[in-house]
């Protein structure tokens, strides 16, 4: 960073105000502005109106931002001194994040299954104290979670667009800090939730430090933090390549951490389990997509040259992720943890898309579009899956232990069928979106990474075992005496769940429209 400052105070360099394309930035600006308004709402609006005001504001902002994304769908430009690349890939990812964030917010706003909501009113109260016990059953609602979510979404919108490492770092922090807080807001099992928040924060801080370190080394190598410049420097720079390799490696560690890819996955199960389930849904879908967006930007734009090869690294982490997700998932007994390990395995599948090459060894458009497609399919399925988990409740809140799910199909057949369908999608059974996604990625990667495809298929078969265990529990086991019941959700969650399940089915049977969209979106600026 010293170098940066040195550059800034260099008397020979003149500083000119960068031109901003406000149209291209509109989605980001709308979300961040609404987040700031949300903070004011928190301060100014009376408590009884606050919840609805915040919910309305948040949804309005997300919808408006989505409309803005559609309005500028043909944009392909660099703006803000080429720090932001608003290109079809960015817009595709931004649109996806906005839709999925809207669904997550609907889940967050669920108040009929839990007194108040899934979010605790005062996260800082000492766990186990009398005040804490009162909180669990109090009607009080915490509404700061909505602006927090909006800030996180704002960061997520910038993250895949960042064409400049410093901006990417800022976006990383903007999206992460609210998430650290949100992870600690669970109304029930406060200790687990706080542990999750602390763990996520500490490990996340480490990851950020790695990213920053890598950034500094790359700056030393390329004399710029701009991805285009870094790319150019790789063929012209006279500096030691050690800087480049180390810088790239450290940068990647930070991003792999956010995307929950092994061996940087260890936070995932704990945080997914401890965080309030709607927040988990939000993290599992939106954060993952944003993180992959940044990885796309780094790998396709900043390091796309074939003069040196980072592919072995991606091979290794992809295999590690698939194996860790599938094998460790087998030993889990908590539904949320199972879904967490599933997300690790899925991250490995998505990584395969980066290994798709054209016949001349350059990175293929097919690979990029397959990643984009997969991210959408996975996002919808995982939101719906976590959303359904919130409905299984007993006297102590959500019942997520596998044994508590025994015989659920007898009491709530519709729930069980829907959840089974989502699990089949996660397992990649045909006629679900999970299969379309896997097929697209495997097809793209087959030419250049056939052994990896075989490994992926074998790990899919292994992973199928733990998805099936849940199905077996629900359908074939006998209901427990005082087992949990499936709550009837409010219309808000119902919408979110219906959309998630319907998208999983639709994209499995008719993937063509989204395939076309992803193919058209697989164009990066620069």
């Amino acid at each position: 960073m010293n170098a940066l400052i040195a550059a800034a105070v260099d008397p020979n360099s003149t500083f000119s105000i960068p031109s901003l394309s406000y149209a291209a930035l509109a989605p980001i600006l709308i979300v961040l502005a609404a987040a700031c308004v949300g903070v004011l709402v928190e301060a100014g609006v009376p408590r009884e109106y606050r919840f609805n005001a915040q919910l309305g504001l948040t949804m309005a902002a997300l919808v408006a931002a989505f409309v803005a994304v559609i309005a500028i769908r043909r944009t392909n430009t660099l703006t803000a001194a080429s720090a932001l690349a608003i290109d079809p890939t960015t817009l595709f990812l931004q649109g996806t994040i906005l839709v999925l964030a809207a669904l997550s917010v609907l889940l967050l706003a669920e108040r009929s299954t839990e007194t108040g909501s899934a979010i605790v009113a005062q996260a800082a109260v000492v766990v186990g104290s009398a005040a804490d016990r009162r909180l669990a059953t109090s009607e009080r609602v915490q509404t700061e979670v909505f602006p927090l979510a909006l800030f996180a979404v704002g960061g997520m919108l910038v993250f895949p667009a960042a064409n400049n490492l410093v901006l990417m770092f800022v976006a990383l922090e903007v999206l992460s800090l609210p998430l650290y807080l949100m992870a600690g807001l669970a109304r029930r099992r406060r200790l687990l939730s706080q542990e999750a928040a602390l763990k996520y924060f500490l490990l996340g801080a480490f990851a950020s430090a790695f990213f920053l370190y890598g950034l500094a080394l790359l700056y030393g190598y390329a004399n710029s933090v701009d991805l285009g410049e870094i790319l150019k420097a790789q063929s012209t720079s006279t500096k030691s390549d050690v800087l480049l390799y180390l810088g790239f490696g450290l940068l990647l560690v930070g991003l792999l951490f956010k995307a929950g890819i092994a061996p940087f996955h260890s936070w995932t199960p704990d945080v997914y389990q401890g965080a309030p389930t709607p927040v988990t849904a939000f993290m599992a879908s939106c954060t993952k997509i944003a993180a992959f967006g940044a990885i796309i930007r780094i790998l396709y734009v900043g390091f796309s040259v074939s003069s040196w090869n980072w592919r072995p690294i991606v091979w290794a982490v992809a295999i590690a992720s698939m194996v860790v997700g599938a094998v460790l998932g087998l030993t889990q007994t908590d539904v949320k943890r199972i879904l967490a390990y599933s997300s690790i395995a899925h991250a490995g599948f998505i990584l395969m898309g980066f290994l798709a090459e054209n016949r001349d060894g350059t990175m293929s458009q097919d690979g990029l579009s397959s990643i984009l497609f997969y991210l959408v399919t996975y996002g919808f399925t995982t939101i719906a899956a976590f959303g359904l988990v919130t409905l299984v409740r007993d006297g102590n809140g959500e019942a997520t232990h596998l044994s508590q799910w025994s015989g659920l199909a007898k009491r709530s057949p519709v729930f069980a069928v829907a959840f089974t369908f989502l699990l089949l999608a996660l397992a990649g059974i045909p006629l679900t979106s999970g299969f379309s996604g896997k097929f697209v990625v495997f097809r793209a990667a087959y030419h250049s990474a056939a052994p990896l495809v075989v490994i992926a298929l074998i790990t899919s078969a292994v992973a199928a075992f733990f998805y099936l265990r849940i199905v077996v529990m629900m359908f074939f086991a006998e209901p427990a005496e005082d087992g949990p019941a499936v709550s009837i959700p409010s219309p808000l969650s119902t919408i979110a769940l219906t959309v998630g399940v319907a998208a999983t089915l639709f994209l499995g049977v008719f993937p063509q429209p989204l395939l076309d969209l992803a193919t058209n979106a697989a164009k990066l600026h620069g």
Partner: protein, 546 residues
């Protein structure tokens, strides 16, 4: 090419399934009636298609093709050749029969099968690996039998299964075939898992995982065929002859082969079948062994041979040796079984050895014999499972040792049992004899030693079938059988179930020509695809003259 004949065939059971699923709980009789009527209509319609199939016409008929996923070149394409059309006819016959056979299975406590003492030790060796799932299965087994099971779900699943069964035989697009091949697992999984015997959870999961693993390997090969052939289409006819030869073809062949070998099942991929066959309800087991397993052998003929001719020739010898091992090994295992359903499952493994032999002999006789065998085996093993199911419904036990002298009490049941058994051991005059004979002759012209060793399988088959019959039906009357009030002879419904199957067993045993005429051109087309011609018959004198 927008012929909707096959779409209608698939549509009838699909509509039926959806109607039954949406019926309110409690309308069991309506559910059964709808299932029976629609599956019967499906069968009649399939029969019409079979008889209008032009044996001198194109290889694929009733073809209909619609674009499904444009970017991949995936088509929603159906069409049948002679092999597929007879298998569809056989499958659609079995469904109404099974529906009728399962009519009362879930109304009373007839499904209260005891945990077989004999299989408990057999369970231990495989059970230790299965861990928690298996433990849970045994723990809940005692309470499971008193639970009422959703009758309509069972019949809706049967019809759904029929949809996929027809689809998988009729698909002419490899992608579509794969999709249906995998989707077929789901209804069967629930049939076993929800309506099966005491260890149904374990059996269902094992069945699903084995098939899924095979299916995923096949998916790798499907993508590989698509990428390496250089076409942008998954249509079967576009891909034949386009797969590059050499190592690529061998690897891709193995992907398909393992999937089909697990499905078939061929030794050593067979271990799921005894569990699944024993735990599935008898009707489900009849479809599982009678139809689903045929998809594996059908896949060998339809996909492995034409797509990978070079690799097929390369691997033929080891596969045939495995088939012969399967015939003998499974026969010995069948003899040692105390559980009747496991026994029947093992006999099937042995029979699939013959089918594998016939297919990989690369002769017209062998191929025709193999296809005929698939049809006949569906009929005879389907019947055997159904009859065993009748017996279990009366005796409440799957153990051979709990019966004895039963034919004295239930003579009609005993007679049907004997016919099913004799058909299974390929007695001349029965349907299976001709197919077994053809496969062996077809094998003999190429591989004499293998054919001779395989022939001993016939003797072993006589042993295990007749021993089973003798121990359950003949000899001194087991007091449990004699005193049980539920031990009545076959009812009118049950007679109606077995009559069509028995009729076909005899008719096809004497006059199989109509079916062979349909099968033959398709088998010859397959032989042409792999570039094999039948070896010329020669005598010792001719050879001496060389």
């Amino acid at each position: 090419m927008h012929n909707i004949a096959l779409i209608i065939l698939i549509g009838i059971p699909l509509v039926g399934s959806l109607i039954i699923f949406s019926l309110p709980e409690g309308n069991d009789l309506v559910a059964k009636q709808i299932a029976f009527i629609l599956s019967a209509v499906t069968f009649i319609y399939a029969l019409v298609l079979t008889f209008t199939f032009n044996t001198k016409g194109a290889r694929f008929q009733f073809e209909g093709s619609w674009v499904w996923i444009k970017s991949f070149g995936v088509h929603f394409a159906f069409g049948v050749d002679g092999i597929a059309v007879v298998l569809i006819a056989m499958s659609t016959l079995l469904v109404p029969v099974v529906v009728l056979a399962s009519w009362n299975s879930f109304d009373t406590i007839e499904d209260a099968e005891e945990l077989p003492r004999g299989s408990a030790s057999g369970a231990a060796d495989v059970g230790s690996a299965s861990g928690a799932v298996d433990g849970a299965a045994v723990a809940t087994a005692t309470t499971a039998v008193v639970q009422t099971r959703s009758v309509k779900t069972y019949f809706a699943l049967l019809l759904l299964l029929e949809v996929f069964m027809i689809g998988v035989f009729a698909a002419t697009d490899i992608f579509l075939f794969y999709v249906l091949f995998e989707a077929m697992l789901v209804p069967m999984y629930f049939i076993i898992g929800s309506f099966g015997g005491p260890r149904r959870q374990y059996a269902a999961v094992k069945f699903f995982l084995y098939s899924l693993l095979g299916g995923l390997l096949m998916l790798a090969s499907v993508i590989g065929v698509y990428v390496s052939s250089g076409t942008s289409s998954f249509a079967f006819t576009d891909l034949v002859g386009r797969v590059p030869t050499g190592a690529t073809q061998k690897w891709l062949f193995l992907g398909f082969f393992i999937a089909f070998a697990i499905k078939a099942p061929l030794v050593p991929f067979h271990t799921w079948l005894p569990d699944a066959g024993a735990e599935a309800p008898s009707g489900g087991a009849a479809l599982l062994v009678g139809v689903l397993d045929k998809v594996g052998t059908f896949g060998f003929l339809r996909y492995c041979l034409p797509l990978f001719p070079e690799a097929s020739r390369y691997f033929a010898k080891p596969i045939m040796i495995l088939s012969v091992i399967g015939i003998l090994y499974a026969a010995f295992l069948a003899m040692g079984q105390r559980d009747m359903k496991r026994l029947v499952a093992y006999t099937s493994v042995a029979h699939f050895g013959f089918i594998g032999l016939g297919i990989f002999a690369f002769t017209t006789q062998g191929g025709t014999g193999a296809v005929l065998y698939m049809v006949n085996h569906g009929l005879s093993t389907g019947l055997l499972f159904i009859v065993v199911g009748f017996l279990i419904a009366r005796g409440k036990s799957r153990l051979v040792g709990d019966y004895g002298g039963a034919a004295k009490v239930v003579p009609k049941l005993g007679a049907v049992f004997l016919i099913a058994g004799l058909s299974s051991l390929a007695l001349p005059g029965m349907n299976t004899f001709i197919s077994e004979f053809l496969t062996l002759v077809g094998t003999f012209t190429r591989h004499k030693a293998l054919a001779i060793v395989a022939t001993t399988g016939i003797i072993l088959a006589a042993l295990y079938v007749l021993l089973l019959y003798q121990r359950t039906m003949q000899g001194t009357l087991n007091p449990k059988v004699g005193t049980s009030a539920s031990f009545r002879d076959l009812s009118l419904r049950e007679l109606a179930v077995v009559t069509p199957l028995i009729t076909l067993i005899f008719v096809l045993g004497v006059y199989p020509k109509p079916i062979i005429d349909i099968i033959n051109p398709a088998v010859q087309a397959t032989m042409h695809d792999i570039g094999q011609t039948d070896p010329q018959p020669h005598t010792a004198a001719v050879r001496g003259g060389k």
